[in-house]
């Protein structure tokens, strides 16, 4: 073993860092500015695919569609999480590394600034003329005796303090001078900004853990109660507990849409959506009449209700071959265009002896085009008609396989009504009933209601994010627009006494107005002390 070690050692030229040393090296690399810059740019690049490929979190149907349309490339893209970019391993790795880098950068800066805040401005350099912004002002020889170096330093201190500088009077071996610094808040702003970004990330994590969101369609006359069973779809946070659902209820009394009827160019464009609702904050609370509109959600106990969609729900009654009512109620249809031509699917599994299925369109204002097809002429229900095909047979619902309620699989069904059948398609106006061929039953169009699509969103991270965002913005503005600068001022003396004053400015960080500040100080000194006029020219002297 010992021999082995001896032979191995000369192979490594560089001194071994050891485990701790390696960690330290990685940490130093990670928290360096070029790494942070690289990670930032990488984050920008990594975010782009999320705008090119459909995202599951935004629109899962589009992802399914994409996978069907691209059977070869689709699964590969999926393997690289390109349909879940913002929760993908690689995107998370980049932003987590970036935030670790940020923490590693910000902690030493906090420590350093905490010390700077408690210390005096740095000592006056011996050769002020070497600093980038240096000015030398001569005393007027006639009035030179009117002021002493002592007075000049005291007044210099007072002037600088008035301009927001922290000042320190120095006496370095008998040489008096003023050392001053301002703009400590610049670094505070910087730290607040970066810390707030961390706060935003943590708040998002809180929202993701304890929040929930759900969707529900409510037809006029229906009431939605905030409980798990009421939702059409529901996405809980990782730490979600169903007990946390606030048991409020929202009933849709009426839904109004206003369309533009005056403009020729924008005729029929929606101008207003208003859902008149009755809410109860809790089961035994009093009912309240409220209006729910786009941009004006119902704010209920943190679980807010948003109006995100609407459409028509024709009320239909279906009797089966035995003459019994197999279905009766509103059927939610999906609007396809701006005149609310709506696709409607109705499955009647309770019909006997044969199950029934219907697909077709609801036309709010039915017109017949030149080819004989029914089209809708207006989004309002002026002449509503149902144009349907009908089917009978096994709907395939009894096997317990989940099905999309908006799609009717007609493979195993027999067509009863359509344009290709002798019986033709079903065309129903409101109040009419149609007898299906072969005594399979009947369908009647009883009434037309509207529905709304509601999003319910509970996100406990929202308030902290708002606070952190505000702090980040304020911190950012302060850190970019507050100049941090140092000033040193020293009386010039020789054997004849006080001759003048010299001062120098030093910017810490970007400071485009440093020169203006020097000129401003010159002006104030000229007004305060008996300085020679010609030294005005020297006011812009710089070595």
């Amino acid at each position: 073993m010992a021999k082995n070690k001896r032979t191995k050692k000369p192979l490594t030229d560089a001194p071994a860092l050891g485990f701790v040393g390696s960690l330290r090296w990685i940490w130093t690399q990670l928290t360096s500015m070029p790494t942070a810059l690289f990670l930032l740019l990488l984050l920008a690049v990594a975010a782009v695919p999320g705008s090119i490929f459909p995202q599951r979190r935004v629109n899962p149907e589009l992802v399914t569609q994409y996978l069907t349309d691209n059977p070869v490339s689709g699964p590969w893209l999926d393997r690289f999480q390109l349909f879940d970019v913002y929760s993908s391993a690689w995107f998370s790795a980049i932003y987590l590394l970036l935030f670790i880098s940020l923490v590693g950068c910000i902690i030493p800066r906090i420590k350093k600034h905490a010390i700077a805040l408690r210390s005096k401005p740095p000592r006056t350099p011996t050769k002020l003329e070497r600093l980038p912004q240096y000015t030398r002002l001569e005393l007027d020889p006639v009035q030179a005796t009117a002021i002493t170096a002592e007075q000049l330093v005291s007044e210099g201190q007072r002037i600088l303090r008035k301009r927001g500088y922290r000042v320190d009077r120095r006496d370095d071996a008998g040489v008096l001078s003023v050392s001053a610094e301002r703009g400590y808040v610049r670094e505070i702003g910087n730290i607040v900004f970066h810390t707030s970004l961390l706060g935003i990330l943590l708040s998002m994590a809180i929202g993701g853990a304890f929040g929930y969101s759900g969707q529900r369609i409510v037809v006029e006359g229906e009431t939605f109660v905030n409980s798990l069973v009421s939702y059409d779809s529901f996405s809980p946070g990782t730490n979600f507990d169903a007990k946390n659902l606030e048991p409020y209820s929202v009933g849709l009394d009426k839904f109004d849409i206003t369309f533009d009827r005056e403009s020729e160019t924008h005729f029929g464009q929606p101008l207003d959506f208003t859902a008149h609702v009755t809410t109860r904050r809790s089961p035994d609370a009093e009912a309240q009449q409220e209006d729910l509109k786009v941009n004006h959600p119902l704010r209920i106990n943190g679980a807010d209700v948003y109006l995100v969609g609407n459409g028509y729900a024709p009320v239909v009654t279906v009797k089966d071959g035995e003459g019994k009512v197999a279905f009766s109620g509103p059927v939610v249809s999906t609007p396809q265009d701006s005149v609310y031509t709506s696709v409607m699917v109705l499955k009647v599994p309770d019909a006997n002896p044969e199950q029934l299925g219907f697909t077709g369109f609801l036309l709010p204002t039915a017109l017949v085009d030149e080819t004989g097809f029914g089209i809708s002429g207006d989004p309002n229900a002026i002449n509503p008609q149902l144009h349907l095909n009908s089917y009978y047979g096994d709907l395939g619902l009894d096997e317990g396989k989940p099905q999309n309620v908006y799609v009717l699989d007609t493979d195993k069904l027999t067509e009863l009504n359509s344009r290709s059948q002798d019986a033709g398609g079903i065309i129903l106006e409101a109040g009419q009933t149609y007898e299906l061929p072969d005594g399979k039953g009947s369908i009647s169009f009883d009434d037309l209601k509207r529905f709304v699509a509601l999003d319910v969103n509970y996100d406990p991270g929202k308030a902290p994010i708002a606070v952190c965002s505000f702090l980040a913005l304020a911190g950012l503005a302060i850190s970019l627009f507050t100049p941090r600068r140092r000033v040193w001022l020293r009386p010039i003396t020789d054997e004849q006494g006080l001759r003048g004053v010299e001062f120098a400015l030093l910017a810490r960080g970007e400071d485009p107005r440093l020169q203006r500040e020097a000129a401003e100080l010159s002006k104030i000194f000229h007004n305060t002390w008996p300085l020679a006029e010609k030294s005005k020219d020297l006011g812009e002297v710089n070595a």
Binding site: L40, S51, H266, P270, D272, V294, D455, A477, N542
Partner: protein, 358 residues
């Protein structure tokens, strides 16, 4: 049906006048653009003449050089000396790194005409924007046509106001060219008659969110121009330093690369804070309208990308080895993203921000 009372009817006549004035403004901008370009050519000749004159009088050149050396020790200000690095000093009489008006400024007659024409165009343009707003009884930024026309107005106005403080006539042809292009794109590419806003846009946030976004984009445009000129000037100064021929003599009209970089940085910091505010205000509005403050909608993705790229730019300015051309490239890439977000994302990407009016 009661609701219609809350939206005042559109004034179609005023809307038509707005479109007419938009066209007039575009025409005047076009002439102003030509004047700015002519001024570049003419002033370039003036400087060349000055150069020739200086060469003829050798003695004077020496004296002047001596004087300038003395000045460097004596009265030249640090910004001027530190950033300049200009290879040709004669041009300093026409343009300097502080971008202030110089003794020779009044002699640029064509530039004066260009500025006056730009003011005229801005007045016509302003009438067009305001009348459209009055015709619709709302802010004039609800679709692509309006983003472009109002955005172009803001760019031109910011430029004219900046001209009071700095001699930025060297970017005149770029800025007014851009404004003309925006107006042409609006009237040819996205002609939209004046109309009401769809419910999703009926929020006070449209006033805040969109106006600041437009203003930030206008500032990004100006700093983009500065950064492009900076890169050109940088490579030109390198060529001159190597004793090679001056391929871009008109760049004598443009301040030194360092001065351009600093100026672009100052504008970018303001624009970045505004962009941060735009994104935050957008998140607040999105929360009220769509039920979530952030949902990675394509527009949100690209606003985020823009924010991160410009954040990278600000960090680059504080990183050794990344100042100068490298950070300028980051700013240019950032502006590329702004343009992409405004054009491609608005028109081709399917998202919640799809009310471009196309």
């Amino acid at each position: 049906m009661l609701r219609i009372a809350t939206l005042a009817p559109i004034n179609e006549t005023l809307g038509t006048y707005s479109q007419l004035f938009m066209l007039l403004a575009a025409m005047v901008y076009m002439v102003a653009f030509i004047c700015f370009a002519l001024d570049l050519a003419k002033t370039n000749k003036t400087i060349a003449a000055l150069d020739a004159k200086a060469l003829e009088e050798d003695q004077r050149v020496l004296a002047s050089a001596g004087g300038q050396n003395a000045a460097a020790i004596g009265t030249v200000t640090p910004a001027r000396r530190g950033n300049s690095g200009r290879a040709d000093n004669v041009g300093e009489d026409v343009v300097n790194d502080e971008m202030t008006y110089t003794a020779l400024s009044p002699k640029r007659g064509i530039a004066k005409i260009a500025v006056v024409l730009t003011w005229l165009a801005v007045a016509l343009h302003g009438f067009a924007v305001v009348s459209r707003s009055l015709a619709a009884h709302r802010v004039p930024w609800g679709n692509m046509y309006e983003f472009l026309t109002t955005g172009a107005f803001v760019v031109a106005l910011v430029y004219l106001v900046a001209l009071f403080f700095k001699d930025l006539r060297f970017v005149g042809s770029f800025i007014i060219g851009l404004v003309t292009l925006m107006l042409c794109a609006a009237t040819i590419g996205f002609p939209t008659p004046v109309g009401h806003l769809v419910p999703a846009l009926q929020s006070p946030w449209i006033v805040i969110h969109v106006s600041i976004a437009v203003l930030a984009s206008a500032l990004f445009s100006i700093s983009f121009a500065m950064n492009v000129l900076q890169l050109l000037q940088h490579s030109r100064m390198n060529r001159l330093a190597e004793g090679k021929e001056d391929k871009l003599p008109f760049m004598r009209l443009v301040p030194g690369a360092g001065a351009l970089e600093n100026f672009a940085y100052r504008i970018n910091t303001i624009a970045f804070v505004m962009w941060t505010f735009t994104v935050m205000a957008g998140a607040i509005w999105a929360e009220a309208a769509w039920g979530r403050y952030w949902g990675w909608d394509p527009k949100e993705v690209w606003s985020f990308v823009i924010w991160v790229v410009y954040a990278g730019y600000l960090h680059a300015r504080a990183t050794g080895g990344w100042t100068g051309p490298r950070s300028a490239w980051l700013s240019i890439i950032g502006y590329g993203c702004v343009i992409f977000n405004f054009t491609i994302v608005n028109i081709y990407f399917n998202g919640l921000h799809s009310y471009a009016g196309v």
